[in-house]
């Protein structure tokens, strides 16, 4: 079997001492920072990205993937213990997880999240390994028109996920696309929107935008909130393992969550957030068994399902990135940035030109998941301690790490001025109630979309109908249109708003 040969190659790469170490460091750091309330995976990865510059590409990507899983899991710990979602995909975990913690069942809740995530991670990795090959074959059939349409579909998919107004989210994408065009046009060599500033001819750094908008903007917003007393359940995490009864409820929920998450993660725009919401909705729809606690009152299924779904989803969302080179969400957009920094152009050619990197990364994802569970279950006590670190010590440290990270990308103070500017802009976004994640996605895709549109139209001699006459491209555009229509349907619209109420 080719699949097993490939996996063997991957495990051979991942099981070197060095790479295991980096996976471990990544998971540890990711959890450490992800546990901090208000710091999600995007901010965590952006903050830790500079730490990987000095590493060889394989090790750097392995570490980044570890950070991603760690941050994801750390987020659920915060959600369960202090009723604060550390990141958007654990928003639904808060509902039942926190109730369980209040009843002294924080241990089983954390264990359910951990075990569910691990199972989902294993399945996700297998799916990734199995589908990567065939999908890459498809990717080689893609011409510029298909790529353009796929990106349109991806962006529309991302919008469906944004909370709040659909229109504002679309506008943010377009704004992101425009910001992505700043800098030298590859075709004509014209420096666009650079105002004769030499640094701007290279374009705006995506780290600058990510840190300014997600890091500084959030901190300023958090500081503006009145201080609230956080409840922490240090004394009550005693029974770590779920009872037999718990397992009986948990297992089917984990299976459902994993299936749903794995399927939704592959879709452009899918991934962790959508998966978690969908899984929770489905669990809520299924009938309660006798003796079961109702949802919203601490049902273990309400923790197990969304947590497995978001992990399966985050795993499979690597598929579009690795096979097509198209980031399906903002976290993956950051990964594209990271790969480019290490001189790897994400896309179908990665698998053939860099098989060690490709399969090594996939194998290390599984190892990362294993480490997560090894690391987290015994260390829950330490994470809880970390939550008691007061915010007044935390935010200067975050500001510092952002500033150092930004400076070290180019060793140039120019980036520090830019991050200040984007911090102000990010705070403005929060104040105006527009969600910044679509902006980052648009920013990464802007130059790619322009290039593919340009090529498609060049080949068709300026005939726009090429986008709909090629069957693959037409199908992708139709899917995008369908998504938009579904979201705009009155019934779905009200449901969607309901689902985001907790935000």
């Amino acid at each position: 079997m080719e699949l097993f040969d490939n996996l063997a190659l991957g495990f051979g790469v991942a099981f070197t001492f060095q790479n295991l170490l980096y996976a471990f460091i990544g998971v540890l750091l990711g959890t450490l920072i992800g546990v901090l309330p208000g710091v999600g995976p995007i901010a965590t990865i952006a903050m830790l990205l500079p730490a990987t510059y000095a590493l060889p590409p394989v090790a750097a990507l392995i570490m980044l993937a570890g950070i991603y899983y760690g941050a994801q899991y750390g987020g659920s710990t915060t959600a369960i213990l202090v009723n604060l979602p550390g990141e958007s995909s654990s928003v639904v975990t808060v509902i039942d997880g926190y109730q369980m913690a209040r009843q002294g069942r924080a241990g089983p809740a954390l264990a359910a999240a951990g075990l569910g995530s691990f199972f989902a991670g294993c399945v996700g990795t297998l799916i990734l390994a199995a589908f990567a090959g065939p999908l890459t074959e498809v990717a080689f059939k893609f011409g510029p028109a298909e790529y353009f349409s796929l990106m349109v579909l991806g962006l529309i998919g991302a919008v469906v996920l944004a909370s709040g107004s659909l229109l504002k989210a679309v506008a943010m994408i377009v704004l992101g696309l425009l910001l992505g065009l700043v800098g030298t046009d590859v075709n004509s060599g014209v420096a666009r929107y650079s105002f004769d500033i030499p640094e701007l001819t290279d374009g705006i750094g995506f780290i600058v935008i990510a840190m300014g908008v997600f890091g500084y903007g959030e901190i300023i917003h958090n500081l503006a909130q009145p201080e609230e007393q956080r409840e922490v359940f240090t004394g009550q995490v005693k029974h770590l393992y779920p009872s037999k009864e718990d397992f009986k409820f948990m297992i089917p929920a984990v299976l459902r969550g994993t299936t749903l998450g794995a399927a939704l993660g592959i879709l452009p725009g899918g991934g962790a957030l959508l998966s978690a919401f969908a899984a929770y909705t489905i669990e809520k729809k299924t009938k309660l068994k006798p003796g079961e606690v109702p949802f919203g009152k601490g049902n273990i299924r309400g923790v197990a399902a969304p947590e497995s779904a978001n992990n399966a989803g985050s795993q499979t969302s690597f598929i579009p990135l690795l096979t097509l080179g198209i980031p399906p969400n903002a976290v993956m957009a950051l990964m594209v940035g990271a790969m480019t920094i290490h001189n790897i152009q994400p896309g179908p050619q990665v698998m053939t030109s860099n098989p060690e990197l490709f399969w090594g990364l996939i194998a290390s994802m599984w190892i990362g998941n294993l480490m997560l569970i090894v690391l987290n279950l015994p260390l829950i006590g330490i994470w809880i301690k970390l939550l008691t670190v007061p915010y007044r010590w935390l935010f200067p440290s975050i500001v510092l790490f952002c500033a150092i990270g930004v400076y070290s990308t180019n060793n140039n103070t120019w980036d520090i001025w830019m991050v200040a500017l984007f911090g102000v802009i990010g705070y403005g976004f929060i104040k105006l109630g527009v969600e910044p994640a679509p902006l980052l996605l648009g920013f990464i895709l802007g130059p790619m979309m322009e290039e593919n549109l340009r090529r498609a139209l060049l080949l068709s001699r300026g005939d726009w109908s090429v986008l709909v006459t090629r069957p693959l491209s037409a199908g992708l555009l139709a899917a995008a249109l369908l998504l938009l229509i579904i979201v705009l349907l009155p019934a779905v619209k009200s449901k969607r708003e309901e689902a985001f109420v907790e935000d």
Binding site: R192, L432, S460
Partner: protein
Amino acid sequence: MKIKSQKDFFSGLMFTVVGVAFAWGASTYNIGTGARMGPGYFPLMLGILLALLGGLIMFKALVVETEDGDKIGKLAWKPLFFIIGSNILFGVMLGGLPSIGLPPMGIVVAIYVLTIVASLAGNTFKLKEVLILATILAALSYGAFVKLLNLQFPVWPAFITG
């Protein structure tokens, strides 16, 4: 005409203004045709699209009723000023400011300045505590970024190292 959603109205206004600015900027570049897109083609399209979207958002904000008017609310000037200020000072300390004759001060001084100024953004400020925090952060950063990761920073002030 009354604004029914302040947040939406002003975000729409922002999108329109930025869209028009980008479109206007694009029109100074060569636009070209579909078959031969110039550097101005794609940004012009997007700029116009953004301006239209902004207009639509503003229109909705004037027409659709909201419960509380979606007020933007007060701006948090204090954290905004100190957080952004600390970041800018960090850059000044690292790079120096030749126009006023300030030499590059290196990362250690920069960390102290950033920590102190950023801490002023919070509700409580205890100098002793902040200094301890700054010392820990400076030691950590020196160990992790300079020693372990070998990132290139000026560590000490330029007039000491020469």
